[in-house]
């Protein structure tokens, strides 16, 4: 009998789990048609939104404090930002939390030398990078065609980039909270669909928030959703002056920290109540 040799590396923290970033791309490559459908879908959405807003502004030069070009910039970039997290919406993702809990394969998340939260983070980040690549491509095309405005100078671009990243972190934690709810609900399809509708509506993906009625706008401003899309895009199009950027970035940072703490607490609770359906 030969004894098992446990390599020294087993004692160390894993350093290669970041390679999970590639799972999203590998999944997409497994269904090559998706690589064709994704840009087509995006092109159709952008074209229809462009026509829609052009029609809305047919008889007016300004609405909700925005010009047509500003509105198109906001609305089309909001669509692109919505595309960033498209694959990270895990309702139908086979190795996401909802399906893993439903099918019982969540057990394997707890049998790995990286925490379930870390695994989730790498998977989500991979999906966001993949979605982000399509969004960036769409941005380059729209800018090349001069359909949307450029950022307001170098400072505007930097502030937008920071706000965009913070907004993605906020949306990441919000989506994660909905996913972790699966540990209690065992089926969260309804919750997830409702959540994503509310998120898209109150973040500004469907319609720029300045077009919302005052009450709805006030509610949206006080909820974390607007940090995801409205805050960075308002800075980008100049509706929010750069002088107010610190306040806006501070609000986004607050949501990042608060949601991170909530998520951490939820993971601890969820880890103690793993149930495995089907034996």
């Amino acid at each position: 009998m030969t004894s098992i040799v446990i390599p020294d590396v087993a004692k160390r923290r894993p350093h290669r789990s970041w390679r999970l970033l590639r799972v999203g791309l590998l999944n997409e490559r497994a269904f090559r048609i998706r690589l064709v459908v994704a840009p087509m879908m995006l092109a159709v959405q952008l074209y229809l939104y462009d026509r829609l807003w052009a029609a809305v502004f047919h008889h007016t030069g300004k609405a909700a404090g925005l010009t047509l070009k500003q509105t198109l910039t906001y609305a089309l970039m909001a669509l692109l930002l919505g595309r960033v997290r498209w694959n990270a919406r895990t309702v139908n993702v086979r190795d996401g939390i909802p399906i893993s809990v439903r099918e019982g394969t969540i057990v394997y998340w707890f049998l790995r030398p990286i925490s379930p939260g870390r695994f989730y983070m790498w998977r989500q980040t991979g999906d966001v990078l993949y979605g982000g690549a399509w969004a960036l491509l769409g941005y380059v095309v729209l800018r090349a065609a001069d359909v949307i405005n450029p950022p307001h100078g170098f400072n505007g671009a930097v502030v937008f980039a920071i706000s965009l990243c913070l907004g993605q972190v906020v949306l990441y934690y919000l989506g994660q909270i909905v996913d972790i709810a699966m540990f209690w609900m065992l089926s969260n399809n309804g919750l997830a669909r409702m959540y994503y509708f509310v998120q898209d509506l109150l973040s500004g993906v469907f319609v720029p928030l300045p077009f919302m009625p005052p009450l709805m706008l006030a509610i949206a401003t006080w909820l974390p959703f607007s940090s995801g899309v409205n805050v960075p895009l308002s800075l980008y199009v100049g509706r929010t002056p750069l002088s107010r950027a610190p306040e806006q970035l501070g609000l986004q940072l607050f949501w990042c920290v608060a949601l991170a703490l909530v998520t951490r607490w939820l993971w601890q609770r969820a880890s103690n109540r793993v149930t495995v359906q089907g034996g």
Binding site: P7, A10, R16, L26, T105, V107, L111, P113, G279
Partner: protein, 340 residues
């Protein structure tokens, strides 16, 4: 009792109780369940005490709902015990999940840890990254596993297109890729054909004999138990009912052979001293020798006292033995509850 470090697995008085919501019935049941929730405590594993030595291959047996899977999930650290102590490779698994993960591997029946839409080989590579397996060890493991399980024939196929047998072979490899000391297999061969089952058994034997792994196997396949495991742990209703070898199990629960007899004409009552009547339908009867009575004694007694036209001795197979053990335990539990 051994210390936590001596054995691969030590469990002392391990108990798991679930709180289960009781549903209201009748009018407005849903609303009443919401406003006035009532719950019951269900003890699934009840003061389980056991140990498994290093390099052992043991079978954890029991009828459906006996608590096998829950026990395995506590031993792997997935579930937190309600009370009791558990040590796996010297660690408390649910308190040290990350380190524990390096010591153990697991296959849970039909639940896959492979990425469904990716080829199995890509899943192996992802698991290599998750467990941070050095490339040299990974290559060696893959070559070893392939030599027995013949994975390379299909490992470039997406997992969703694999047959059950092919997928389970990949699951086995995935569970042991990081070279764990202890492996938990919860009904791994369920639904597989005999050829693949034998291939899997050969793989498991090699893992124990050549690599020194400890394997805990739950299964309902008694052929598998007979061919693989020297020691069985039998649990029922969450309690350990037997811990020993198959030979001991047969000796303790008797009835290692049955005498099947066919009569020339219907017989009203069949009674042979030193036997237990297993079944009787007039023309046919099955008797089990008890105590010092041998099957030959029974055959002789039947021929001399009854109009026998055919008689044969059949060794009790393991399936029947387990059925008898389970039923005997159910009867005992029923009697105890009546007395209470």
């Amino acid at each position: 009792m051994s210390t936590a470090d001596d054995d691969a697995i030590v469990a002392r008085e391990l108990t798991k109780t679930f709180v289960v919501a009781r549903k209201h019935t009748g009018r407005f049941a849903g609303l009443r369940s919401l406003l006035d929730p009532v719950s019951d405590k269900v003890t699934v594993v009840d003061r389980l005490t056991m140990r498994v030595g290093r390099g052992e291959l043991v079978a954890l047996l029991g009828p459906n709902g006996a608590g096998k899977s829950t026990s395995i999930k506590m031993l792997t650290g997935i579930l937190t015990p309600t009370s009791g102590e558990v040590y796996v490779d010297g660690r408390v698994p649910h308190k040290d999940r990350t380190s524990n993960a390096r010591s153990i591997g697991a296959v849970f029946g039909q639940k896959t840890q492979l990425w469904w839409d990716l080829p199995a080989r890509q899943s192996f590579a992802l698991l290599r990254d998750i467990f941070d397996v050095p490339q040299a060890l990974y290559d060696r493991q893959i070559a070893d596993f392939d030599s027995i399980l013949q994975l390379s024939e299909f490992w470039h196929t997406p997992v969703r297109n694999l047959s059950l047998g092919q997928r389970v072979r990949c699951e086995m490899a995935a569970a042991m890729l990081h070279d764990p000391r202890i492996v938990f297999l919860d009904e791994p061969t369920i639904g597989m054909d005999v050829v693949v089952k034998e291939q899997t058994r050969e793989f498991l034997r090699a893992q124990v004999q050549e690599r020194g792994r400890t394997i805990v196997l739950t299964t309902h396949d008694m052929t598998e138990v007979a061919r693989l495991c020297e020691r069985v742990l039998l649990i029922n209703r969450g309690r350990l009912m037997f811990d020993g070898t198959l030979t001991q199990l047969k000796a303790e629960h008797g009835g290692t052979s049955h005498v099947n007899v066919t009569f020339a004409e219907p017989v009203n009552a069949v009674s042979v001293p030193g036997t237990r009547l297993v079944s009787h339908d007039g023309m046919r009867a099955v008797l089990a020798p008890e105590g010092a009575t041998t099957p030959e004694d029974v055959v002789r007694a039947l021929i001399s006292h009854y109009p026998v036209v055919n008689v044969g001795v059949e060794e009790t197979n393991l399936e029947d033995l387990m059925r008898d053990v389970y039923l005997a335990q159910l009867d005992a539990a029923s009697a105890a509850s009546h007395l209470a």
